[in-house]
């Protein structure tokens, strides 16, 4: 599966959140969308699952333009985890994960089996599956949200700032787990982050954005060694405990 944004622009009010962007996400790799807050990286994710539609340009899926009737099918092929997880408070962890299975009338045994697989994959404690979201820790919420996004075995997984709401210790642990998860299921992953260290740790390829445009894309090492712009060097410097990153985390 190949998703492509071709010369896409999306405006909110007067400003352009995404400004004539050209990006292709091909299978098998983990891409980090990196940049300061408000640079348009979350909007890119929302465009990819058609939660917002472009004002100009085109989104293509496997080379064909995305049609309105394909949107629900697309969303089932692309798992999307919003910031803070977006778990439904009226459902337990297990019910959150298997919501789509109920909608699609899966056999309960099949849903239970899939739930076990996902809990193992995300290292989620099975005894916490019966808990409601307000009884889970921040790290557990993210894991449940990822399990829910992976239920239908999508070809692509989109994560919006999966680590931003966590305290440092949990954050490091989940970051390492995320890397293991991405490796083990070997599919296309796009992670939105403002943290250079996270991007370097999780992603094969980094797309650095600024003010709705792509500044440079490539492996982190290339960005560091051959920056396309002084902004690249300046932004990568925030990764070493720079004040900008710290300030942004507290946003």
């Amino acid at each position: 599966m190949e998703l492509r944004l071709a010369n896409v622009t999306k405006r909110y009010g007067t400003g352009a959140a995404v400004d004539g962007i050209d990006l292709t996400f091909a299978s098998g790799r983990t891409t980090a969308l990196l940049g300061p807050s408000g640079c348009g990286k979350s909007t890119v994710l929302r465009l990819l699952v058609a939660l917002v539609s472009p004002d100009a340009g085109e989104i293509t899926i496997d080379g064909r333009p995305l049609a309105a009737e394909d949107i629900e099918a697309l969303r089932r092929r692309v798992g999307y985890v919003i910031q803070d997880g977006g778990l439904f408070p009226h459902l337990t962890a297990a019910e959150n994960v298997t919501l789509m299975a109920r909608h699609l009338r899966w056999d309960p045994a099949r849903a239970a089996k899939r739930l076990d697989e996902l809990a193992a994959l995300t290292r989620f404690p099975t005894d916490a599956l019966a808990r409601y979201p307000n009884e889970l820790s921040g790290g557990q919420v993210q894991r449940v949200a990822i399990m829910r996004a992976l239920l239908l075995d999508p070809e692509m997984l989109l994560l919006d700032e999966p680590l931003s709401a966590l305290d440092p210790l949990v954050r490091t642990e989940l970051r390492d787990d995320l890397r293991a998860i991405f490796r083990s299921f070997a599919k296309t992953v796009i992670v939105v982050t403002h943290d250079v260290g996270e991007a370097a740790h999780l992603a094969d390829v980094v797309v650095l954005m600024r003010a709705g445009r792509v500044v440079q894309q490539g492996p982190m090492a290339t960005l560091a060694s051959a920056p396309a712009d002084p902004f690249v060097t300046a932004f990568l410097a925030t990764g070493n405990g720079g004040l900008a990153a710290a300030a942004e985390t507290r946003r």
Binding site: L51, E72, A73, I82, G86, P89, H90, L91, Y132
Partner: protein, 499 residues
């Protein structure tokens, strides 16, 4: 309402009534909401029953407007009325150039000959106060503009009541409207000085009142008679023959005595009626079957819960979808919520009177009114619950690939459920309280003992209606609270109640 439409509706209702009687509908006697009318209604019922005709008495069905409308539409077959009320109020425009009997015939109605007594209006004040001020005649009132006047609500507004009286006598007093029986209590307690009385009221003696002479002959005569549907003569001639035997049998002292037995001595109307009829009119008359107080409370509870539950279920069935539509289509939604709010501002009595021509008397108009009142809290809460769903949850539900209807069923309605249940609770409590006015149009319920209690100045009887109504409201709220506990998942409750 326009005349043709009204005619068509009436024809429909009459047709429906005719259809009913073919299947053996009993003769329906009605009475207005005061003791004398109830006693006369009981007499008619006892005589008809004695003639072997099935009969039903809708006691204290309502005021003149309600009962006459019910007679016209065929929901009622016969009730006691007064000549003055017919000629001065109900049929005032029509009797100007035609005899009363012709006008009644044009309405499909007939009247018996007068029963014998004249229950006219008069003004009265306490003997002590009247003596102190030297007031004997109504015209003497003009010299005392400081006197406080209270009138029963009918007299307050009718052409042959206070407006005409004040013009005839040139009075400039302020007057307030009040329930007739409460007005007596206001006079007795010194809260008011002058009130209207009916000349057969036993209170005139009991409260030591001086009836003021109507020196300018304003008040019309109010001879009692029975008005009945013309078709009754063909349908149940034995019934008509039976109640016609009351003609000329009741003079003023007799009627005052009968009223006194109920109002002052606390004897039930049915007993007063059968005693009189059996001794003076017909030894074949059969009194109303006696009811145990507990079984009557149970009957009231049954009527009351039926009113509340039927209207509440109907309100839920319409209001939840309306709330969903309002949340989906914000522009239309404003009008939906606004219209439901507007309905709530209509006073319950006014709404009932508006509904009577459409739905007749008894429980249908009351259920319809409670249903309309119940809409707003549920519509508003459903709307608020759906609109208040946090955006990230909406986005998550859409991003999963759930189609709109599944989102509504699996995510949005469950999240809005606590609000919806709260709205239902509000509607339920409103319905229990408002259903008490149902007694004014013959729907029974706990309003019935309250109404009778006010009429008979029987505090115990008022409590017999008020206490169970309050208990029902509290109980229903507790029941819905338990339902809420079951249907609202733990994750949606505040954390301190979560476990």
């Amino acid at each position: 309402m326009n005349r043709t439409l009204r005619g068509a509706l009436l024809a429909g209702l009459v047709g429906a009534a005719a259809g009913c009687q073919a299947s053996g509908r009993p003769v329906v006697v009605a009475s207005k909401s005061f003791t004398e009318s109830v006693i006369l209604g009981e007499m008619v019922a006892a005589l008809v029953r004695g003639a072997g005709v099935p009969v039903e008495h809708r006691r204290q069905l309502g005021g003149t407007e309600v009962v006459f409308r019910a007679l016209e539409t065929g929901a009622v077959d016969v009730y006691p009325e007064y000549t003055g009320t017919l000629t001065k109020e109900i049929l005032r425009k029509e009797v100007a150039d035609r005899p009363l009997a012709d006008v009644l015939a044009a309405h499909g109605l007939r009247a018996t000959k007068p029963l014998g007594f004249d229950n006219s209006y008069a003004l009265a004040m306490t003997e002590a106060r009247a003596a102190a001020l030297g007031i004997r005649r109504v015209s003497d009132l003009a010299a005392h503009p400081e006197l406080r006047l209270v009138f029963s609500n009918e007299v307050m507004n009718r052409g042959d009541g206070w407006p005409g009286l004040r013009a005839r006598y040139g009075l400039h007093h302020e007057a307030r409207g009040m329930d007739h029986d409460l007005a007596y209590r206001a006079i007795a307690s010194g809260g008011a000085d002058v009130t209207d009385v009916y000349t057969t009221d036993p209170e005139i003696h009991a409260y030591k009142l001086r009836v003021l002479e109507d020196d300018r002959h304003f008040f019309a005569t109010y001879e009692a008679l029975l008005v009945y549907r013309a078709d009754l003569a063909a349908r149940a001639p034995a019934a008509v023959a039976a109640f016609e035997r009351l003609e000329g049998r009741l003079d003023n002292p007799t009627m005052i005595g009968l009223n006194e037995r109920t109002k002052m001595a606390g004897v039930a109307e049915s007993e007063v009626a059968i005693d009189f009829v059996a001794a003076n009119v017909s030894d074949k008359a059969i009194g109303a079957p006696r009811q145990h107080p507990l079984s009557s409370i149970a009957a009231r509870a049954g009527e009351h819960s039926a009113l509340v539950l039927l209207s509440l279920l109907a309100a839920i069935a319409l209001a939840v979808p309306l709330g969903i539509i309002a949340a989906r289509l914000p522009r239309l939604g404003r009008y939906v919520v606004g219209a439901a709010g507007l309905l709530q501002t209509i006073p319950s009595l006014a709404l009932l009177v508006l509904l009577i021509p459409l739905l007749g008397i008894g429980s249908p108009p009351v259920i319809a009114a409670l249903f309309l009142y119940g809409l707003l809290p549920i519509v508003r809460n459903t709307h608020a619950g759906l609109v208040g769903i946090p955006e990230p949850l909406e986005i998550s539900a859409r991003a999963l690939g759930l189609p709109p209807r599944a989102r509504l069923r699996l995510v949005e309605l469950p999240l809005a459920l606590p609000y919806i249940v709260a709205g239902i609770k509000t509607s339920a409590v409103i319905a229990v309280g408002t259903a008490t006015v149902g007694a004014l149009v013959g729907a029974g319920g706990f309003g019935q003992p309250i109404l009778t209690g006010i009429r008979l100045n029987d505090f115990g009887l008022i409590l017999q209606g008020a206490v169970p109504a309050a208990l029902m409201a509290v109980g229903l709220e507790a029941l819905l609270g338990a339902v809420e506990k079951r249907v609202v998942p733990r994750g949606l409750r505040p954390p301190d109640q979560a476990r």
